[in-house]
Homo-oligomer: 147 residues x 2
């Protein structure tokens, strides 16, 4: 099975399949005489596992751990659960940050006339947090890189 087929069957782009191989997340694929990568159904299975984990927001590093456990028939489910719980905690932290941002902005938007006049509580708050009429505590935890 060529990489394109594996890509379609797994939902992982060919680019990413090569990237995962290069970074060691997945083992090097077999090659045909032509030099083309050759994938088995079980490779596709693994790719779908990865795709699904990405869909659930796991980082590649976390997926690495999950894959190890997946392959380890003597794993302890507690180890998997721990990773998942840690990830949920991360998700919730991000969610809280985003909620805080949205709430603050929402309050400001509600106070903004949104007409042709220049007065704007949104800009006023950006200028001087809390100075605007209906401001709300600032988001404290910075959320770098796709907050």
């Amino acid at each position: 099975m060529n990489i394109g087929q594996a890509s379609k069957a797994s939902g992982v782009s060919a680019k990413m399949i090569r990237y995962y191989e290069q970074t060691g997340l997945i083992p090097k694929a077999d090659r045909k005489d032509s030099g083309y990568r050759d994938y088995s159904p079980s490779d596709v299975h693994m790719l779908r596992f990865i795709r699904r984990a990405r869909d659930l927001g796991f980082s590649v590093a976390e997926i690495n751990d999950l894959l190890s456990l997946w392959r380890d028939k003597a794993r302890q489910s507690a180890d998997v659960k721990r990773i998942a719980q840690a990830h949920i905690a991360q998700l919730q932290e991000r969610i809280e940050n985003l909620n805080q941002m949205a709430a603050t902005l929402g309050t400001l938007v509600d106070c903004c006339a949104g007409d042709d006049r220049p007065d704007c509580p949104i800009l006023a708050d950006l200028e001087e947090p809390g100075a605007a009429p209906a401001s709300v505590p600032a988001a404290t935890g910075r959320l770098r890189h796709r907050p």
Copy 2:
């Protein structure tokens, strides 16, 4: 005022101040004879504006628009409001994605014994979405880059 002072006063790292200047988000700073950048209180004011907007999750591109409006004394508050509303919509999209992920994972975690046995509904679901006992519809919208 040196860049270090401006950094402390604004909460924007010196690195980022130079980066913002380089990319044209902020105008080129004045220079002293020594070649050191020289910041006025109004520069710091602008940096704090940027910092606050970043804290609210605005991208640099959006901040560029906000800064233009901020400087434009004849702006229309509707323009600001539109940017803010679009941003809120983005935030909410991300929040929904994250909530979906957390919910799915939460369900799986609840089904996982978390003991020393290998059976694990979390891995089972990653392997075959929906096959595990208490699974939940998969997150559909991919959330690339810090979802």
